[in-house]
């Protein structure tokens, strides 16, 4: 028989196994390509907002998308190699049979190699087609932040090439082993089942026997079991990173934003300044900042009468008067002394920029943005804290600059505002003007600008007082003093910021959903192959008196063992990766833990239930058909 006709006939004869392998391979390639394309689209979508999002928050998002993308690729690659390995491992016996019938080793190898290539090419091509289709449908249907792009053929080529090479490499391995072994060894049932002598007989209960049959069957296919556990461990690592990571990062960044904007804080300013301040605080999700705004306009100065009234007002627990200006700023290079060599290195350069400069009274400040380093703590010191975006723009290394800036660290450098030099003591994550902000002591700013007034007042209301009544009282006082001044609740802007962050994280959370879907399908594929391999055994068990559901019970035990082992490994590494690498200074509350547990439990339950489908189908089939 020709070397082409035999493999095609053989694949057609083993229709169920062939279609299962091609389906699983297709799913693997399609889900990987889809997830890569989709995460890239989401990543591009989010990064397009990073011009407005603060640099610190953008970095966290970018790290997540990159890490998830890499994991998705690894999962797909392992899955593909696993499926093909399983398929070819099952053919070892057939290899022996054909060899025993007198077919030369090289020809048998050629037959099976041809089968492998046919299955792999069909699976990979179908996978690429379905991957593109799924991505196109998902981005259209879900209407995410994604940018609609033409099909990314580079991704498709990489996925196809890598997966094809992996499939062929891992598929050839068991065949090479089979080619080297003698037909006798390949046909030996002991070799096939890989069993040693059993232990001493001990009677068991029904549950005991079910566990025994399930676990022995699982351990008999030890190489396949180890591979599926490894695969699912990475899936759970991916799920944990994306679910737990997204939830922790969402909660953490939300708290950072809440601390930076302030909760239960009221803004009092001239109505034009209120509008401008709201825009400054909403830069992450709006592009509407007016081209020019005169912060030094005398009309914006808060009348002393308002400040005096606020200080003695019942229900007001804090008053934070600020001078907000848009000023040119200049980087001032610093130096670093190597403790080992005592050599001195220049740090940074003397770059120019424009920043929102906020003069605050450190003793009375109502907001506390998350700060690397130290926030302002003295009214008199010439200290400054800069926002993360400003730090990124003016205090980062730049190898393209001439001469290149190889070393930069804002905490070793200074900033010049209105000709005055301030030591930078901290870098904060602050949504104000998307992180392009500089905090300096109010006195110092007033001193260098010659402006003795403030243009913004933040007021915190005492939580115990009647909020509505106090607000009404505040409005009356302000309106009585100057009708052009207004009172605005910053909680509204805070909620918008939090909702925007939530929407970004929820897009990233779509990835674990899809990953879960594809992993569940792959697990079903594995269980189909596994149940198919045990099909005859299930038939025998029923023929000697067990109920149809015994097959489901055995599959449930096997699935539980595989899933729980994978969960333990994946969850541990996922949590470690998230807490140590992806989210700096994570904030984990009880609610966070509950949310993560609910997600992971739901994922586990869904995967478990889906994995039972093949066994349920067997349970519904007649004994003779099962044993056939």
């Amino acid at each position: 028989m020709s070397s082409v006709r035999f493999p095609i006939k053989d694949l057609a004869r083993r229709r169920l196994q062939t279609s299962l392998t091609i389906t699983t391979l297709t799913l693997s390639v399609a889900s990987t390509l889809f997830l890569l394309l989709f995460s890239w689209q989401v990543g591009v979508g989010i990064s397009s907002t990073s011009e407005t999002l603060t640099a610190g928050l953008s970095a966290i998002f970018a790290q997540f998308v990159l890490f998830i993308g890499v994991l998705i690729f690894v999962v797909g690659a392992i899955l593909t190699s696993f499926i093909v390995f399983l398929m070819m491992k099952q053919r070892t016996r057939d290899f022996g049979l054909i060899k025993a019938a007198g077919c030369p080793n090289g020809r048998v190898f050629g037959y099976f190699l041809a089968e492998l290539l046919i299955v792999t090419v069909v699976g990979c091509v179908l996978g690429v087609v379905f991957g593109f289709t799924a991505d196109s449908v998902a981005t259209r249907v879900l209407g995410v932040q994604a940018i609609q792009n033409p099909p990314n053929l580079l991704f498709a080529s990489i996925v196809f090439a890598v997966f094809f090479i992996l499939a062929v490499t891992f598929g050839v391995k068991p065949m090479l082993d089979a080619a080297r072994a003698s037909p006798l060894k390949l046909l030996s049932p002991v070799q096939y089942f890989g069993l040693g002598k059993g232990g001493k007989f001990k009677p068991l209960s029904r549950t005991g026997i079910t566990l025994q049959v399930a676990s022995r069957s699982l351990f008999r296919r030890v190489s396949a079991s180890v591979r599926i556990i490894l695969l699912l461990s990475i899936v759970f690592l991916l799920l944990t990173v994306s679910v737990a990571g997204s939830i922790i990062a969402n909660d953490t960044t939300t708290i950072w934003v809440e601390n930076a904007v302030g909760q239960n804080v009221i803004l009092i300013a001239h109505q034009d300044m209120v509008t401008q301040y709201k825009l400054l605080m909403s830069q992450a999700f709006t592009q509407d900042l007016a081209g020019y705004f005169n912060y030094t306009d005398e009309r914006l100065a808060v009348p002393d009468a308002i400040l005096e009234n606020l200080n003695g007002l019942h229900g007001v627990s804090g008053v934070d008067a600020r001078l907000v200006l848009m000023e040119p700023v200049r980087e001032m290079s610093g130096y670093y002394i190597d403790p080992d060599t005592q050599s001195t290195y220049s740090v940074g350069d003397n770059r120019n920029g424009t920043s929102l400069v906020v003069g605050v009274n450190p003793e009375k400040i109502l907001t506390s943005p998350h700060t690397k380093g130290q926030f302002l703590n003295s009214s008199d010191a010439q200290m400054a804290v800069i926002g993360d975006t400003l730090a990124q723009a003016m205090y980062s290394t730049d190898l393209r600059a001439k001469p290149p800036i190889r070393l930069a660290d804002p905490l070793l450098q200074k900033i010049i505002v209105q000709g005055k030099i301030f030591d930078i003591t901290g870098v904060c994550i602050d949504p104000t003007n998307s992180g392009n902000v500089t905090y300096v002591p109010l006195k110092e700013l007033q001193s260098v600008t010659g402006i003795s007034t403030v243009n913004v007042v933040l007021v915190r209301l005492d939580a115990s007082v009647d909020r509505v009544a106090t607000l009404a009282q505040l409005k009356t006082i302000v309106q009585d003093i100057n009708p052009e001044f207004s009172v605005f609740e910053l909680d509204e802007v805070l909620q918008e910021n939090v909702a925007f962050l939530g929407s970004l994280w929820s897009e990233i959370m779509l990835l674990p959903l899809f990953t879960l879907g594809s992993a569940a399908l792959c697990l079903v594929g594995y269980m189909m192959l596994s149940v198919d391999e045990q099909r005859h055994e299930f038939g025998v068990l029923r023929a000697i008196g067990t109920k149809p559901n015994t097959a489901v019970a055995v599959a449930a035990v096997q699935s539980s063992l595989v899933l729980l082992s994978s969960l333990a490994v994946g969850l541990s590494f996922g949590i470690i990766t998230t807490l140590l690498i992806l989210v700096p200074h994570p904030i984990v509350t009880v609610l966070t833990v509950i949310k993560i547990s609910t997600w992971l439990f739901a994922a586990l339950a869904i995967m478990f239930l889906l994995s039972l489908i093949p066994a349920v189908r067997i349970a519904k089939t007649s004994i003779l058909r099962v044993m056939a």
Partner: protein, 227 residues
């Protein structure tokens, strides 16, 4: 006169084969009394295995009634039939059908464990049965490590485990050499001596000589009833 334990009434069985149907059993009627040893013979494809499967509650006829131990198996659900197969019938398959993940002792113990018999009783019975079939020394081996004859003897021991009233064997010597075939014949003789109702599908002249009665299946029909 001995009580009737198996009664086949107008049994027909057809299997779909593409667009058409193949009739495997056609209007089969017979009664088998308690303690009777019946041998069913006929050419390959005559329907012997299908008939045994229907008696054993593994398969259902397309029409007709199969009454075994007073129960019409054709109207019972799968749970009832599972209990029936475990407690009331011992079935020895032509291909042995041992559970490959269980050792010899575990295979023999399986039906007893499934019916919840006390552990001490199971241990004792397993030892007895393995001694009866001459495989005490193979108790902790897996089926894949046994020869065909040994596997067949384990299948006999498993079928006898719950001491069923009805014993079915599908060509029990079909795959065995003369020596192993004789051992199986001896076991069937022992079952007959114990007063079990035994139905064997066979071509083996030795086994047929043991039978109280033979049934010949030809092209799905009962061709002769040797009373």
């Amino acid at each position: 006169m001995a009580e009737t334990v198996i009664s086949a009434v107008s049994i027909n069985k057809t299997y779909p084969m593409g667009d058409s149907e193949t009739e495997v059993l056609k209007d089969i009627n017979f009664n088998i009394a308690s303690g009777e040893f019946v041998a069913i013979y006929g050419s390959s494809g005559a329907g012997k295995t299908t008939l045994l499967n229907i008696i054993g509650g593994i398969d259902k006829p397309t029409s007709g009634q199969m009454i075994v131990l007073g129960e019409d198996l054709t109207v019972q659900n799968e749970d009832f039939l599972a209990d029936f197969r475990c407690n009331d019938v011992g079935y020895v398959f032509q291909a042995y059908n041992l559970v490959s993940t269980l050792t010899v002792a575990e295979n023999v113990a399986f039906p007893m464990e499934w019916t919840g018999r006390p552990p001490e009783e199971i241990v004792k019975r397993v030892a007895e049965l393995l001694a009866t079939v001459g495989l005490g020394h193979r108790a902790n081996h897996y089926p894949a490590q046994l020869s065909g004859g040994e596997q067949q003897r384990v299948a006999f021991a498993r079928a006898m485990a719950n001491d069923p009233q009805v014993f079915l064997a599908d060509e029990p010597t079909g795959n065995l050499d003369t020596k192993n075939g004789q051992k199986i014949t001896q076991m069937l003789q022992m079952l007959k001596a114990e007063g079990k109702t035994v139905i064997v599908s066979t071509h083996d002249a030795e086994i047929m000589r043991l039978a109280d009665r033979t049934l010949c299946l030809e092209d799905g029909r009962l061709a002769s009833k040797d009373e």
